[in-house]
């Protein structure tokens, strides 16, 4: 390789390496800002200021979904299996919403410690199963619960 080409290649590799480091540090510094939601544990530990509009993500705790009979009001508890946060919501839920499913809710904490959601989104995990496999797994008593979202 000719010297001037070697020099150019060196400059390009230096730019690429420098940029990677810069982006790496930026990403690390913005870690919390880029997160889409807080987990119930983070909320319990007081990481969210009072009156703040934010998103919370967790699993819908089994046996906690209560729907009103004459309206679209629904209440449930979201959990990361460490802490629980009760949620109230009025509106249409996504098809995927069910007990044991990951969700992301947007809204505010009220004075009673209940999260008043203005929007509820369903989160799907990385697993895909045909109905036959699901039935076979259920028959074998294996757990097919969705994984906890955002445990990282």
């Amino acid at each position: 390789m000719k010297p001037h080409r070697r020099k150019k290649l060196g400059i390009i590799l230096f730019i690429a390496a420098g940029l990677s480091v810069a982006v790496g540090f930026t990403a690390y510094a913005l870690k919390q800002n880029i997160n889409m939601f807080y987990t119930p544990t983070q909320v319990a530990e007081g990481e969210v200021g009072s009156g703040q509009h934010f998103r919370i993500g967790g699993m819908v705790k089994t046996g906690t979904v209560l729907g009103a009979e004459d309206s679209l009001k629904v209440s449930f508890v979201t959990t990361d299996f460490v802490s629980d946060v009760p949620i109230q919501y009025e509106g249409i839920l996504p098809d995927l919403f069910r007990e044991g499913q990951g969700i992301v809710a947007e809204g505010e904490m009220d004075a009673a410690g209940v999260f008043q959601a203005s929007r509820v989104l369903a989160k799907h995990d990385e697993n895909f199963m045909s109905p036959e496999v699901k039935a076979a797994l259920d028959a074998a008593g294996a757990t097919t619960e969705n994984h906890m979202p955002g445990t990282n």
Binding site: M36, L93, D95, K123, H124, S130
Partner: protein, 247 residues
């Protein structure tokens, strides 16, 4: 190796060699695309929760995965353009940007379709996977417009090469966004034959076939458009005029 390398840079040599490869690549593409689309879209079992909507992901995952190949490709082409001033590398980079923009757009469109049904939303500005993918589309549109904005083709080649090298870092962000930060977007599904994994093998085998099909489609499209570019840029050279006279 250096002889082979400089030979590869010759547009004439590439034109002749790619002409020999093309029929095989096209045949392979048709076979994989047919199997992938027919199986994936018509016969694949539904997911127990998503129903048949899960079939959208066969296309989405294949196109999205392939769309991440464009910036690394343009990084290599850009480096060759800047260091060795090989014209062929710039011709490939020019067409890769255009194809990459389309791939990114299809990724976003299919993902939105699936999300509107499953998540209950078309778009979330707070999701780092979604936003970094949109950023890739904008970066590629930026590379395309940068080239058309600069009149001198040599300057345009250098500027685009540099932007491609810098933009390549975004691919890493897209790839790891779902692991570094919590997002609405799920993490990558594992490819596993482990019987205890809840993932059915038919889903990832169908996806894998689609990925091969889409990569073949990318190769064929890129070769075809590069051949066009070669003929246009080398139209005054003797071998292109001979070629035209012969046909």
């Amino acid at each position: 190796m250096w002889v082979w390398f400089s030979k590869l840079g010759s547009p004439k040599w590439f034109y002749e060699l790619s002409g020999k490869w093309l029929p095989w690549l096209i045949a392979a593409m048709v076979i994989f695309m047919t199997i992938g689309l027919v199986w994936g879209l018509l016969f694949l079992p539904p997911d127990y929760q998503q129903g048949f909507t899960s079939r959208i992901l066969i296309v989405h995952v294949a196109v999205a995965g392939t769309s991440l190949a464009f910036f690394p490709l343009m990084f290599v082409a850009g480096t060759i353009t800047l260091v060795w001033r090989m014209k062929l590398a710039d011709m490939v980079a020019k067409n890769a940007a255009i194809l990459g923009a389309w791939f990114s757009f299809i990724t976003l469109a299919t993902g939105s379709l699936w999300g509107s049904v499953m998540w209950g939303t078309w778009w979330e500005w707070t999701d780092s996977r979604l936003v970094s993918m949109l950023f890739q589309l904008f970066l590629l549109l930026g590379v395309i417009s940068l080239r058309s904005a600069l009149e001198d083709s040599d300057t345009a080649a250098k500027a685009c090469a540099l932007l491609s090298i810098v933009g390549c870092i975004n691919v890493v962000i897209i790839k790891y966004s779902v692991e570094w930060w919590n997002t609405l977007h799920q993490v990558s599904s594992p490819v596993t034959t482990d019987a205890s994994s809840p993932n059915g093998p038919e889903f990832w085998i169908a996806t894998l076939i689609m990925i091969v099909a889409v990569y073949l489609f990318l190769s064929v499209s890129l070769i075809l458009s590069t051949r066009n570019e070669i003929l246009e840029r080398e139209r005054r050279s003797q071998w292109v005029q001979d070629l035209v006279l012969k046909s």
